[in-house]
Structures are given as structure tokens and as C-alpha cells.
Point group: C2
Chain length 358, copies 2
């Protein structure tokens, strides 16, 4: 895979798709340096050119330039299991000393004994019990602290890196490119809204008010004269599958013009977004890079992609291949392996988190 990554500089001056560009534009720095010059990159650039070209048939005014991104598997990795799931398991271990009864109670026993069969046997109900035990019964501030502490210390089993190191460098560039073209970028995650919000602003440049996710109920209370929001062991909203268009309508209130996902949980979001009138863009990331990341699709528990692979072409959605389309997967590869297209790492980092966080 290393060839792909290192082949970048040579490709820099090759044609960028069929769209004619002005000489000035062609000389400007590539906003997507970690992307190979392939049809996926061309499709993205053509779409952005279409919606931003005043007077063109595809023009979309800035306030309607909304782009939605799934998080797990789209903006960061999700193997060997959703990172929030790994947080749950770690929290169960951390909280176990205060819950001696967990040693003999499923599904807690299964987690403590790392018995995946027993865990699977506990089903969705068991999973919810684990989520409530680790996500409810505390204030929003206490929960946020437990997530931040975990993100600061936990390490990914394959890469021995913080989970927030495992965001996708090409997607950071894409977010910045869209924002530079007056898009407002939103996360539409099946994961927990308050989990994702703890790192979305720092890592993606996406402020909390542009993060949508699944949630449990919270309750307002005044404790000793100090108002708090208490997280309750009760589901509020599942932002996945059919829930994603519902979440878009609830939180954004207008139909986005671009959607980026990677699993069948994103199908309805892609369908809803691309069924709108005018310029539309839908993209599915196919995780096919076992060396640099993970290769999985139809049979995976986390991020299963089955219908999406079959239906993408007929629906006009772009399928991205990580092997073919991305020179770099993670930002840390730039530190280790040098620069892509001669850019300095610091400049790229600055691009990711511009002042314009929209």
C-alpha cells in the first residue's frame, strides 16, 4: 500500500477530471492532497464546482449548502468494534469494583470475563443494559469527563494509538474543502451524540451544535442551588437507518445536498439527501484496505455494507475505495512518512480546523 501513498507528488500535475479549469485555479494548491487523482476525487470537485458556480444550472446558495457525514467508518475507523462500544467495555471494567454483583450478572459478567459468546447471547437488551450502566445515572458534565478521560488514555489494539488519532486524513481535507466553499458540515452519527461532541470540534472542526447522534433522555434538576442535566436510563432517539432522515429533519430542518456514509445504516440518509431536486451528491466509503486500515463489508458486525454495494450504482452514488482513492489514511502517517504533495504537516492541520467552523 505504501506505493499508493508515496505516488502522490508525481500525480499532482495530472488532469483533474473533465472539468475545464482556469489557469489560476489549476495553479492553486490542491485542497485534497491525500486523495489520488481518480474518478472519486473528480466527482467531488465537479460537484463542488457545480453548486458554487453562480449562474450555473447546478448553483446552490450558500445557506442551502448542507453536507452530512456519518461518523463511525466515515470520519474515523470502527474496527475491531465501534469505538464507543470499546468505551462501554472499558467503563464496565473500571466501574466493576463498585458493583460486586456484576461478577454474577449478565451481560456484565460476559464483559468482565471477555466472553464474547455470552455477550452475543445477551442480545440487544444486554447491550442496552451495558449502555445505560455506563451512559446514564450521572450529569452531562460527569459523562463528558468520563469520555474525555477515556479518549486521553485508551489505545487502539491494532495501532496502539489514541482513538482520536484514527480519523481519516482525506476526510479532514474534504471537510475543510467543503467549508472553504461555504458548506455547513454536520455529523449524522448512529453513535451517541454527547460521545461524539466531546471531540468533534477539536478533531473535525465541527461544533457541537452541528453534531447529531443517538441519545438517551436527560432531565433538568437543581441540586443545592446548582442546575444540572441528569442522564436517565431511557432511550430518547436512535439516529440510524430510518432514524437518520428523521434526525436530519429534526436537527437541521432542511434537506442537505451531500451525504457521506459507509454502511447500510447510512442508506436512508443517502436516499433522502439524493432524492431532493437540483445538485446532489452521495458517497459510500468501501473499507477495502486490510493493510493500512481494515477490510470488511457484507459480513461485518460493525459497519456492515451489503445493500449499499448492490444499489449504489443504480442510485448514482459514488463508491470510494480506500485502497484506490486515498494516499494516506491517518494524519499520523504524514508525521511518520513525510509530506503529501510537499505540504508541511502543520499547514494541513491548520486547514482542518479553520476559524470558519460551519
Amino acid at each position: 500500500m505504501k506505493e499508493n501513498y508515496q505516488s502522490g507528488p508525481q500525480q499532482r500535475d495530472t488532469p483533474r477530471g473533465s472539468r475545464p479549469e482556469s489557469p489560476a485555479k489549476a495553479r492553486s494548491p490542491d485542497p485534497l492532497p491525500s486523495w489520488h487523482e481518480c474518478s472519486t476525487k473528480s466527482a467531488i470537485r465537479d460537484f463542488v464546482a457545480d453548486v458554487t458556480t453562480g449562474g450555473g444550472t447546478g448553483f446552490v446558495p450558500p445557506h442551502e449548502r448542507i453536507a452530512v457525514f456519518d461518523n463511525d467508518g466515515t470520519l474515523w475507523s470502527e474496527q475491531p468494534f465501534y469505538f464507543q462500544g470499546l468505551f462501554v467495555f472499558d467503563r464496565i471494567h473500571a466501574l466493576a469494583p463498585g458493583h460486586p454483583e456484576w461478577k454474577d450478572t449478565q451481560p456484565f459478567k460476559a464483559v468482565l470475563e471477555i466472553d464474547m459468546n455470552a455477550l452475543a447471547a445477551s442480545g440487544l437488551h444486554g447491550l442496552l443494559e451495558l449502555v445505560m450502566a455506563t451512559h446514564a445515572g450521572m450529569t452531562t458534565e460527569e459523562f463528558e469527563r468520563s469520555v474525555r478521560d477515556w479518549l486521553a488514555t485508551a489505545r487502539h489494539p491494532k495501532f496502539n494509538r489514541a482513538y482520536t488519532d484514527l480519523v481519516f486524513q482525506p476526510m479532514l481535507e474534504l471537510l475543510a474543502f467543503l467549508r472553504a466553499n461555504e458548506f455547513k458540515t454536520f455529523i449524522m452519527s448512529g453513535g451517541g451524540i454527547e460521545f461524539v461532541r466531546t471531540f468533534s470540534e477539536e478533531r473535525y472542526g465541527i461544533p457541537p451544535e452541528q453534531v447529531v447522534g443517538s441519545s438517551i433522555a436527560t432531565k433538568y434538576e437543581v441540586r443545592d442551588g446548582r442546575p444540572v442535566l441528569v442522564r436517565e436510563p431511557r432511550l430518547d432517539f436512535i439516529n440510524d437507518h430510518e432514524g437518520k432522515p428523521v434526525g436530519i429533519n429534526k436537527f437541521i430542518g432542511r434537506r442537505p445536498i451531500a451525504a457521506f456514509g459507509n454502511s447500510d445504516g447510512d442508506l436512508q440518509m443517502l436516499e433522502w439527501v439524493t432524492a431532493g431536486a437540483g445538485s446532489r451528491f452521495g458517497l459510500i466509503i468501501h473499507h477495502d484496505d486490510a493493510v493500512r486500515e481494515f477490510a470488511y463489508d457484507r459480513a461485518s458486525v460493525a459497519g456492515r455494507l451489503d445493500r449499499g454495494l448492490d444499489e449504489a450504482a443504480g442510485r448514482g452514488w459514488t463508491v470510494l475505495s480506500m485502497v484506490r482513492d486515498w494516499k494516506v489514511i491517518y494524519p499520523f502517517e504524514l508525521e511518520e512518512g513525510g509530506d503529501v504533495n510537499g505540504r508541511r504537516r502543520n499547514q494541513t492541520a491548520r486547514n482542518q480546523r479553520g476559524r470558519n467552523q460551519t
Copy 2:
């Protein structure tokens, strides 16, 4: 009341509170021309100066400058009853020919016969039945159209004006002033989120993704190959009283630094916002202008303000008097009565809806 309104120009060069201003600043056009030079206006300007002065103790970085506004009674009028309630009654009349059974069924009978006693007797349950009959059982697009049609044709009983004419000119100026100082402005309404979204962008410059309100559930369906969101007769969320801090946490995900309301339904929002660390601002509008608008507080059904009047001073919240603080209530007074401070109506309108809709 007319004296107040017309006394504006003479007051223009009086001191603006205790904050010393540079000569350049003092000469720049007043961003709040419909506000009298009173302690309320000074308090607003002092707060904004505090949070925007780099290096000052009260400085707040732009991405944390979130301001939340109640809608009914804060950004537009709410008498003789919440405008969305009047929409419900009008819709019941409009839909009645298709529902002959309503003639003999409460609470519909009460609405059709304009029998307010029978309506009151039907209680909260009756009100919910009316809401569901007019707000559910159609797609989100169909509902939006019914609201837009009503707003375009219905007239307010006192002013014989479109309801969207009855927004508060001083608040439009305040929204624009805050946005010019890099605030992001949100609506936190007890009213229906999709009702308010139909006019918030055009009227307030607040895009749909920055409108939070009460909601009913929606369901994603594909009908004849076309995806739709269907509104279901089931409450999803009540964004009022204790619900407002919950809604802030859910939709915004960080604590605002300024809150503007007018009724006891805004108390918890004000409490939550002003309990945060650092610079904070809370304001309650007191409707005390029976001539130019309506005078009501402790005994009103719509927009009841009772505890708020008693507790504001102790909590450090500013209480705004419409009689004392506002030269103009509605934008149409500028057309009719001439200019405030020599400004032309068109310039003011342009200020209200700047390109920066944040």
C-alpha cells in the same frame, strides 16, 4: 406612548451608559436605533463589549458566543393567544367540511362554535387532540405548505396585519447586533419547531438548523419510490420550562452565554444559561404596553410572567419594559411613522437579514 417613539432622535447623542467609548466608536451608527438610551440598552452593549474585548476578563471566543431567544412574546407578539394556537383554530375550521363528525365531537365542536368555555373544559387533552388533527397525518412538506398558506393570508385581530408583520423591530436589531459581534443566534421556542422554521430564516435571519422547538414524531417512508417524512400523532418533545435546558443540551450541546425570554416558561432556560461561569446575560421582556402592543403578566393564559417578575432582580436578570425601552414595537411603524434616528426603512431591513445568518 407616541412620545416615547418620537423622542428617539433627540436622545441619540446622550451618553450610552458608563462604558467609555472611543470617538470613532461613538460616531459609528447606532446598531440599536429603536431602543431608547436606557439602562437596558446599556446593559446589552456593556455585555457585548465585555465578551468581545480581547484580553478582557469577560472575553468569550466567538465559537462560544451562543445566544438563545424564546419566540412567542420575545421575538413576536403572542396575544390574544399564541399565533400557532390561532393557526390550529383556523385549520379546524378549514378542515371541518371533510370531518362532519366534528360538529358533534369535543373539542372540535367547541372550536367550530367558538365556545371558549367548552374548549377550556376539554383541557390539555383536548388541546392535544386539536394539535394532532392539524399537525399530524401529513408529510413534512404538506405541513409546511399549510403553515405558509396560513401565514400569507391570516390577519391579526387587533392590527389587521399578517402575523409575520408582528415581529419586534428592536429584537431584529438586537439579533443583527449580536451576529455582527460573531454571536450565533438560536430560537428556543415552546412552539412547534416546524411551524417556527417556516418563517425564521426570512423574518429573523435565523436558519432552520438554529431553531429549536416542541415537536411531534415523524416517520420515514418511501411512497411510490419517493421518500417522505410523515408526521405522526405522537408527541416527541416539549421544549418549554424544564424542557428548554434539555433542548439546549440536545440541539446545541453547549451552554449559551445569553438568554432572552418573556414568560415563566423561560425561567429554566435563563437559570441554566446564567448559572454558567464567565460573562452571562439574561433578559426578560415585560409586556407593559397596552397601547402599542398588549399589557399582561401574572394573570395571562398566554405568556404568563409571575415568578420571573419576582426573581429577576435577585438572579441578576435584566427586566425590559416595552413602554420605557422601545421607541418602536413593529417594523411597520417605521413605514407609517417615518424613520427612527433618520434611518431609512430599507437600510434597517437590510440590517435585519445580513448574509451572515449565524
